[in-house]
C-alpha cells in the first residue's frame, strides 16, 4: 500500500527548491504554491478521467467474452422458436456488429444510461440506485468501525512494542486477517442466528429488515439485522489498518524529534498523540482511502452470505444469469469508486504532507 504513495513523494521532493530568501514579494512563494497545487490537481483529475475511460472500455469487452448466450439463458429452457430468439436479440441489440454495440454502449454510458437488465427488465441504473443505500449503510458502518479500531489498536501495540498485549493483539489480528470473511459470516449465523447447543438464536439470519416495522422500531430492526454482518466485516477488516499503523509508528519510534519532545518534559501520552501519531498517519491514510473505494464495491461475499440487498449481492446474482448490462454497470461503478477515492486521497495529500504536490 505504501508503495503507491512513494513515487509521488520522491518526485515532489526533487521539485522542492530552496525558498527565495529575502525576495521582495512576500506573497511570492505562496502564490506559486497555489499555482503548483492547481497544476497538480489538474494532472490528477486528468489521470482519473483516463482511468475511468479505460475501465469503461474494459467493462464492455471483458463481459463480452462470457461464452454462454444470454438470450438462451433468459428464456430458461422454455420452448422458444428461432424467430422469437432473433427478435429478442434484436431487441437487446445483440445482433449488431461488435464495434456498433461498443460505440452505442460508450455513448449511452456517458449519458448515464447502462441499458436494461436482462433478468429484472428494469433500467440497470434504477437497480443500482435501489441497492446502493443498503451497501453504503452496511459497509460504511463497518468501515468507520474497523478504521477506528485499527488505528487505536495499532497505536497501542506499537507504543508498547513487545509487551504481552502487543503480542496478543498482533497475533489475534493476523489470525482474523487469515480467516475467509464468508466463512466467519456462516459461522456467526450458525452460532448466533440459528443457535448451537445452549446458545439461542439471537439475531436474524439475513436480510435488512423484517418488513413489518415502522418509525423508530424500523431503525432498531435494521440495526438488529446489521449486527452480525458488521461484526464479520470489522473482524476481517481491522487487521490491515492495525498492521500498517503499527509498522509506520514503529518506524517513527526511534526518531530524534521524539527524544527531543521527551527531553522537553512532555508526558508520554502527549508525545504519542501530538508528535508520533500525526507523523505516522500517512500510510494509514493511504490505506483508508483505498478501503473507502471498496465501501461501494461492498463485500460481495458477506452480502451474499447474509442475503443483504446491496450491490455485492446484486453483482453475484447478475453473474449467475449472466445479466450483461447489470454486471457491466456494476463493474464500472465498483472501479469508479476506487478511482474516485484514490483521486481524493491524491488531492488531500499535499494538505496533509507539505512535501507532496509542491
Amino acid at each position: 500500500m505504501t508503495a503507491d504513495s512513494t513515487p509521488a513523494l520522491v518526485k515532489q521532493a526533487d521539485a522542492e527548491g530552496p525558498a527565495p530568501a529575502g525576495s521582495p514579494a512576500v506573497r511570492g512563494p505562496r502564490a506559486r504554491n497555489t499555482q503548483a497545487y492547481l497544476k497538480y490537481v489538474a494532472a490528477k483529475i486528468f489521470g482519473a478521467a483516463v482511468s475511468l475511460f479505460a475501465v469503461l472500455v474494459t467493462s464492455f469487452f471483458l463481459f463480452r467474452l462470457i461464452p454462454s448466450d444470454p438470450v438462451k439463458q433468459m428464456t430458461g429452457g422454455r420452448p422458444v422458436s428461432a424467430e422469437q430468439l432473433d427478435s429478442l436479440r434484436r431487441q437487446l441489440g445483440l445482433d449488431q456488429p461488435m464495434w456498433q454495440q461498443f460505440t452505442s454502449y460508450v455513448g449511452d454510458a456517458l449519458t448515464g444510461d447502462f441499458g436494461t437488465s436482462f433478468q429484472y427488465h428494469a433500467p440497470v441504473v434504477d437497480k443500482i440506485t435501489e441497492a446502493l443505500p443498503a451497501t453504503l449503510l452496511l459497509t460504511g458502518t463497518a468501515y468507520v468501525l474497523y478504521s477506528a479500531l485499527g488505528i487505536w489498536l495499532g497505536t497501542r501495540t506499537a507504543w508498547r512494542n513487545g509487551s504481552k498485549s502487543d503480542r496478543f493483539n498482533t497475533a489475534l489480528a493476523l489470525t482474523l486477517y487469515s480467516v475467509p470473511s464468508f466463512w466467519l459470516g456462516l459461522l456467526l449465523i450458525i452460532v448466533f442466528a440459528v443457535g448451537v447447543g445452549p446458545i439461542p438464536g439471537m439475531f436474524p439470519t439475513g436480510g435488512l429488515e423484517s418488513g413489518n416495522e415502522s418509525g423508530f422500531a424500523y431503525v432498531l430492526d435494521v440495526a438488529h439485522h446489521m449486527v452480525l454482518p458488521v461484526i464479520t466485516l470489522v473482524a476481517v477488516g481491522y487487521a490491515q489498518t492495525l498492521l500498517v499503523m503499527r509498522s509506520s509508528l514503529l518506524d517513527e519510534m526511534g526518531s530524534d524529534y521524539l527524544t527531543t519532545a521527551r527531553a522537553k518534559g512532555l508526558r508520554d501520552d502527549t508525545v504519542r498523540r501530538k508528535h508520533a501519531v500525526p507523523n505516522a498517519m500517512l500510510p494509514t491514510f493511504t490505506l483508508m482511502f483505498v478501503n473507502l473505494g471498496h465501501v461501494v464495491a461492498g463485500q460481495i461475499l458477506v452480502e451474499t452470505v447474509f442475503s443483504w440487498p446491496g450491490l455485492g449481492g446484486l453483482f453475484y446474482q447478475g453473474l449467475s444469469v449472466p445479466d450483461l448490462p447489470l454486471v457491466q454497470a456494476l463493474f464500472f461503478v465498483f472501479a469508479t469508486a476506487v478511482i474516485l477515492a484514490n483521486t481524493l486521497a491524491d488531492l488531500l495529500y499535499p494538505l496533509l504532507d507539505p512535501r507532496v504536490g509542491r
Binding site: 482511468s51 471483458l62 466463512w183 456462516l186 440459528v194 443457535g195 460481495i300 461475499l301 472501479a335
Partner: protein, 322 residues
C-alpha cells in the same frame, strides 16, 4: 536478540552446517561465490530462527505439506468418490467419522485432507505467476527509462485500480471451470503490488555505483538486470511471495465458494459451498462448516507468519512478529 527455544517439531536439518571455509585465496571464483552464498543463507537462518512466529509458521507449513502429500495413504484413494461413500448423509461426528459426513456420506475429515492439496497447489502456482509477472514488469520498468517504462507503469496503475476480487470473479466466469482458470485469474489480477515494490527496489539498486561499474565494463541491459538487479531484489520478492500465497489461498477459497472453481475437485472453498447448499447452516451442522474454514485460516496464517519473519530479517527496523 534473544535466542528463543525452538518448537520441537522444527526440523534441525534445515540449518546449514556452519563450516567455515578456510583460507579463501586458494579457491576458484565459483567456490568463493558458493561459500559466500552458503554463509549468507546460514546468517539468514540464524536471524529467522529468532522469530518465534516465523518458526511456528514454518512448522505448520511442513506439517500441512506432509499431510497433503500423504493424502492417499491417510484416507485411501476413494475418499472423494460419491458412489462409494462409506457413511450416511450428514452424520454427526462419531468414532468412524471424526468430523461427520457430507450430504453424500463421505467423511469430512478425508475431504479436508484432500482439500489441502488444492489449496497448496493453487496458492503456490498463483503466487508464482503473480510474483513472476510482477518481478519482470517491476525490473523492466525500473531499469529502462522512456516511454515503455511509462506505458508499463500505466498498465500497472490501471490494474491497481481494478477491484481485484471483482476482476478475478469476472475472469473466472469468462473462462472454463478448471484449476488453471482459478490460478490464472488470481495471478493476473494480483501482480501490480509486487511490480510496484520491485520497481522501487530496482530504482534503489540501480543508483548504486557498482551498476555504473558494470555498465562501464560493457555489461548490457540483460546482464545488468539478470546478474545485478535480480539477485538484489530476490529477498524482497521472497518475502512478497509468501504473503501473496496466503492471499491467493483465500481468493481460491472465495472463488470456489462462489461456485467458480473446478466442480470435480474437492477444495476447502468448494466444501463450504457444498455445506451451504446442503443446508448445513440452518441445520446448525457446525462440524461440517467449521473445519474447512479453520484449515484455510491456518494455512493462510502459516504463510503470513513466514512472510513477516522474512520481512523482519530483511528490514530489522520493522521489529514485528517476534
Amino acid at each position: 536478540m534473544t535466542t528463543e527455544s525452538m518448537p520441537a517439531s522444527t526440523p534441525g536439518a534445515e540449518v546449514p552446517a556452519p563450516e567455515e571455509s578456510g583460507p579463501e585465496e586458494a579457491k576458484s571464483a565459483g567456490a568463493l561465490a558458493r561459500a559466500r552464498k552458503r554463509r549468507s543463507v546460514a546468517r539468514f537462518w540464524r536471524e529467522y530462527r529468532s522469530h518465534r512466529g516465523g518458526l511456528w509458521g514454518l512448522a505448520g507449513l511442513i506439517l500441512i505439506a506432509l499431510i497433503a502429500l500423504c493424502a492417499p495413504v491417510l484416507t485411501g484413494a476413494n475418499a472423494q468418490s460419491v458412489t462409494e461413500a462409506p457413511g450416511g448423509a450428514l452424520e454427526s461426528p462419531s468414532a468412524e467419522f471424526p468430523l461427520g459426513t457430507d450430504q453424500f456420506g463421505r467423511s469430512v475429515l478425508a475431504l479436508l485432507i484432500w482439500g489441502a492439496r488444492v489449496s497448496l497447489t493453487v496458492g503456490l502456482l498463483a503466487a508464482f505467476l503473480c510474483v513472476a509477472i510482477g518481478t519482470v514488469v517491476g525490473i523492466v520498468a525500473g531499469h529502462f527509462r522512456g516511454w515503455y517504462s511509462t506505458v508499463l507503469m500505466r498498465v500497472t496503475d490501471w490494474f491497481l485500480v481494478m477491484p481485484t476480487l471483482v476482476l478475478a470473479i469476472a475472469l473466472a466466469t469468462v473462462m472454463d471451470r478448471s484449476l488453471w482458470t482459478v490460478i490464472i485469474a488470481i495471478g493476473v489480477t494480483t501482480w501490480p503490488t509486487t511490480a510496484r515494490l520491485v520497481r522501487a527496489q530496482t530504482l534503489a539498486v540501480e543508483s548504486r555505483p557498482y551498476i555504473e561499474r558494470a555498465r562501464a565494463l560493457g555489461g548490457g541491459h540483460g546482464h545488468i538486470m539478470l546478474r545485478h538487479v535480480l539477485p538484489n531484489v530476490m529477498p524482497l520478492v521472497l518475502a512478497q511471495t509468501t504473503l501473496v500465497i496466503s492471499s491467493a489461498i483465500l481468493t481460491e477459497a472465495t472463488l470456489a465458494f462462489l461456485g467458480l472453481g473446478d466442480p470435480t475437485i474437492t477444495s476447502w472453498g468448494g466444501m463450504l459451498q457444498d455445506a451451504r447448499e446442503a443446508g448445513a447452516v440452518s441445520a446448525g451442522d457446525w462440524w461440517y462448516l467449521a473445519p474447512p474454514g479453520i484449515a484455510i485460516a491456518l494455512v493462510a496464517l502459516a504463510f503470513t507468519l513466514c512472510g513477516r519473519a522474512i520481512e523482519t530479517v530483511l528490514n530489522p527496523k520493522l521489529g514485528v512478529a517476534r
